[in-house]
Symmetry: C2
Subunit: 204 residues, 2 copies
Amino acid sequence: SISKATIDRLPLYFRALRNAQEEGLDIISSDELGRRLSITPEQIRKDLTSFGQFGKKGVGYYVNELKKNVSNILGLDNHWNMAIVGVGHLGAALANYQNLGMLGFQLVALFDRKPEVIGTTVNHVQVEDMERVSEIVHERNIKIGVITVPAAFAQDVADRLISAGVKGIWNFAPAKMCVPDDVCIVNEDIFTGLSTLSYHMVHM
Amino acid sequence: SISKATIDRLPLYFRALRNAQEEGLDIISSDELGRRLSITPEQIRKDLTSFGQFGKKGVGYYVNELKKNVSNILGLDNHWNMAIVGVGHLGAALANYQNLGMLGFQLVALFDRKPEVIGTTVNHVQVEDMERVSEIVHERNIKIGVITVPAAFAQDVADRLISAGVKGIWNFAPAKMCVPDDVCIVNEDIFTGLSTLSYHMVHM
Ligand SMILES: NC(=O)c1ccc[n+]([C@@H]2O[C@H](COP(=O)([O-])OP(=O)(O)OC[C@H]3O[C@@H](n4cnc5c(N)ncnc54)[C@H](O)[C@@H]3O)[C@@H](O)[C@H]2O)c1
Ligand SMILES: NC(=O)c1ccc[n+]([C@@H]2O[C@H](COP(=O)([O-])OP(=O)(O)OC[C@H]3O[C@@H](n4cnc5c(N)ncnc54)[C@H](O)[C@@H]3O)[C@@H](O)[C@H]2O)c1
């Protein structure tokens, strides 16, 4: 079984391998991978061994194969239908972010409750009235709900998505959230990136 | 010296301690802190010891004091003047995000190059023409630049901010970035949160 620390690094492995692939690399050493992830080659080898990936001794890892395996473990080979609730600044930025579509996450619905937003189109998807959330989650087999409404409304929006059948919540609202045991939630906090920057600037 | 893994956890400690503070907790055990961060109490104690924080045996850590120390290490007690370049959907969402102001990061400038955006006001800050970036970075002692322009323009924007005197770059554009050794950069990739969600949904 894979440690939480390793699991949290997996998306970073995926990103580093995708970059390596774009650069045309066929093989990557644990030294080079470690440099790109800012961790030791020993930690790299430990991580990758823990999910059954063994490099070629003295050579490294085959980039395409390793990326495919990491992608598999992360579930990126699955096809996830996704809805964004709250098409304000952040919701619209996420809806427009092209890269998400490339990773098995397909934006299939947008919801809002402001009359002037409902009916508009963002990235080829029409914004629907929040009132239709249950009907549309079923109809479009939506499994992931992205919450980008103000904090005060986040829990209610989560409850509605979950009772409609959503199994994963990606929450951006700065609110403490409660979900049932069979639902996954990731609380996104942009603050962590900025405080990491602050740490490095203080300790330069 | 603190390991990279511990440094990366520091913002999460800060957030957990801030939540504990809001709940009115005076003391928090390593068990409880571990629960909130989803890591073992042993790892908690190891992390905190590595930057000189020793709990009260059998009791735990004093919340206010620990939060103050973590904040100090993260440099959040510093006052950082910040500018956002690219006031589109994502830039406007960041400019409006109230929580940033509470953490020593003060938004003092916004830049864009679209005539219809320049001169508008977001969260009490007026959007200036990109042409004035050098003058305004000096005038307002801006140390952190946030890049939320399309990928093709990101490096050029970074170069301009850096030559104007910015020492930290928080980049959201999906572009490979080059900065001098005396400048810090954090590349924000929203994809990692979503792929973590995907992992948990596949392995539920
Ligand atoms: N986590 C982070 O790092 C981060 C960063 C920036 C913003 N945010 C948060 O993201 C959220 C959105 O920010 P924003 O700047 O885009 O806000 P915004 O005001 O521009 O957009 C919010 C949208 O949600 C809609 N809405 C409100 N209540 C709703 C409901 N019950 N059902 C459906 N739609 C509803 C509104 O009509 C509006 O279009 C806020 O909670 C903000 O604090 C988080
Ligand atoms: N990293 C992530 O997780 C993530 C998530 C969403 C979006 N994004 C990225 O963030 C960026 C912004 O996304 P968006 O949806 O807000 O785009 P947008 O098109 O709504 O906004 C871009 C803004 O930048 C301005 N701009 C362009 N070139 C400029 C320049 N040289 N100088 C100053 N301003 C300039 C434009 O006028 C516009 O207002 C894109 O690169 C997008 O791919 C990243």
